[in-house]
Symmetry: C4
Subunit: 257 residues, 4 copies
């Protein structure tokens, strides 16, 4: 897979300093707070959205806890995960932002990324069980749940974090062309979607499916997972249905202000 | 089983545009919010009540997240799950509303229906364990917990949802004449009752019994479930006792306004 | 065991209509709300305290959900669980109040009783595992955790509830002279203590110990429970230490008003 | 190991009555409330910080529930865990405060201590499973998780509590020179760090790692724990990264006032 060759080639170039769309910035604030409230993000993790003005850029918060993100914290980075606005010089950036930039490079279909330490997903990253869709909302898991093992990329002794562009590229490669979720061993996951509401939806239902799969394992015996065909049909349906929870979550999150 | 032959034949016909009873509408708002707060409903699922003015109709919210339902969102549908009031033309309806309409057709004894993705019930829909009553509040589970497997009705490749009147009829048939709960594989359950407070009560204690059965399975060994006779006696007692939690839940839910 | 022979014989007789001590009534309100907030009580269950003015009486709420109890709801019952004040004629009483009255008759050392459907205790009432103390706060479990099986008393077909004085006597007999907790199959438990703060403390830590024992069972292998000697020493220590959480819980509960 | 020989020998002596730094006192209030809100501390447990003015002293609350700690409750004790200020004569002190004083004597590198009944850690103290790091935030567990078994120190029949200086010394000895966490059988743990934010961070992630290890055990099969090298690298990274959650937690905790 050549990440560079799949890099989007936008037809227009947005001015570097054009004002961010207020609704999109509110979406970002809402996504951060919602995923914190739902227990997917704790004091770590981050959310990004591809800049609709320029697909070679993305929006992400400066390095603070997701629950405390406000509109003033939203920055624009290029796909090398560097700031594009002089006013952001010296702002502290998430050290793992390369997750976002490299996935946007490799996956033109992806417009939003959530990286989290999703608490019930982590146990599935350190065992041999495969996270598979059993709840119809989580059909997107049928697109695959590849496991990124950092030891296979750079050997033993890392802190498991994606601190360089090369590690970001390796992670994007493991995610592949189809999957919506890449598991990260001992760390969490990165979830992608064609829109921010859908990526938030998928990050939440990845955690819920993991909880329900854990309970099904506890009950014992074979688990009646969704078939591939069911998963694909459900994924299509949920691309549309993500709008309903998003309307609620966004309203609740912004009402906190 | 012939669903049509059991269709209620009301003796009077309420005027289509008569004002909804304000207390009943408040009940509906309270039921939606309560089940969301108790973790039975998340951003999906829906609650309905048969219209006391006309048993060939039922009340349900327009298609929004249960937690955000207000009095203005409550609609009247006929048992074919179509709107009956011209003012509701063009309002977005729950796509799975046929669950409600077809159950009301098949079960004249049922006056309220809750459809949810009850989180600890789902694992029991994808394993071979039978959900059975062990907590005395959940004696109604002794009326049966049939499992609806959509693959057996319409084959592989669906999104598991009840999107047509025919699927609604199939689900109502699986529920049968006696059960209070029908499990839906990889999806959740639909819970019915003779009144809205009782259906809310049953939806909640189905989830609680599932959690406790999961814990009992974890402990191991044979489980001392309620006998059939105990379950029936408890069910009768709880038909009356549902009023106590309902008084609390309704007050709490409406105090949020 | 003859419950009647152990009935306390108070030396003084309080006037039937003397005003209840306001602090004690606040204690009762706080105990109800606290146990609801801590998840020990849900919309069912009840708390009582022996009347310090007359040990042949006890205080308990009228039949409402514990979370909604206010000072005006607190009643005085005699040990036959009947109202003693003409003003309470016609007030709806908890149907299972005999749990309280009969335990006070049988156990002069007991001054407070909590009956709950403690959610993680229930699974231990339907399996063969014995609930035993592993957390030092729960040393009182070393006094025994007898299991009341209603089928052995009155046969099959009940709703598992303690609806008569005789069933209350049977339950008190199963509790015995020493135990702080009697488990009730498919129902929950009744927890007793020499004071209301201590009974609340014990009801809470019974639930916590059950959760931790469930986790220890999940981990597997032998469990290093407290020894009898450790349990007794800890029980003594916690009779005193109950005051610290109680100070916090009472303040929080009464601040809600 | 000779605890006394490693006692810090400060070069200056702060006046006994100098005013406490207001920010540090706020830190203490925030640490207590945060750990209570995160479910690490319940109504018991305590947090301390070494006095930056005099390493032979430490700050800790008087004996109240952590959730209710305010600035006025913070006291200064010497390393023998006695008050140093005449104004504190007669104030009720935590009975287990020797945990703190003796650890500060034995570990000059330690500047903060959290003692808790961390709910999912307790089951790991009564089973043979070893608590090991699987989540990258919990790399510090790779420094060891020794288990303090009080029966081996003073025999059977205690209430498991650290009520004397000698027991505090025994606990500090079991913690050893390197570990960040010492497990206490049937009781909880004591977690140490070079700073208060880091000790709070470690206490929280010890609980989170325990939950995730419990889930991994439920899933079954071998668990891919962090290697020693990964744990050490992560620990280093998290010494710095503790600042991000702390900024959020402190702000939230102090906003409650």
């Amino acid at each position: 897979m050549n990440a560079k060759s799949s890099r989007p080639t936008p037809s227009r170039r947005a001015p570097a300093f054009s004002r961010l769309d207020a609704d999109l910035v509110d979406d970002m604030v809402a996504a951060n707070r919602t995923l914190a409230r739902l227990g997917v993000l704790d004091a770590f993790g981050h959310v990004s959205v591809r800049d609709p003005r320029d697909p070679r850029r993305y929006l992400i918060s400066r390095s603070i806890a997701p629950e405390s993100v406000t509109a003033a914290d939203i920055l624009v980075l290029d796909l090398d995960s560097q700031t594009v606005d002089a006013k952001d010089d010296g702002v502290l950036l998430y050290r793992e932002r390369f997750i976002h930039g490299e996935i946007y490079k490799a996956r033109p279909d992806v417009n939003a990324v959530v990286h989290s330490h999703s608490p019930t997903v982590v146990p599935f990253t350190v065992t041999r069980a495969t996270l598979r869709p059993l709840l119809h909302n989580a059909g997107f898991l049928g697109l695959g749940t590849p496991l990124f093992e950092i030891r296979k990329c750079v050997g033993d002794g890392t802190d498991l974090m994606i601190l360089t562009p090369d590690l970001g590229k390796d992670l994007a490669k493991k995610l592949g062309k189809d999957a919506a979720v890449v598991l990260m061993r001992g760390h969490g996951d990165s979830v992608v979607g064609p829109s921010l509401p859908n990526a938030v939806f998928r990050a939440y239902y990845t955690e819920i499916n993991a909880r329900q799969q854990l309970a099904a394992i506890t009950i014992g015996g074979p688990i009646n997972f969704m078939t591939r065909a069911e998963a694909m049909t459900s994924n299509d349906a949920m691309l549309r249905a993500s709008a309903r929870p998003w309307a609620l979550w966004r309203k609740q999150a912004l009402a906190q202000r």
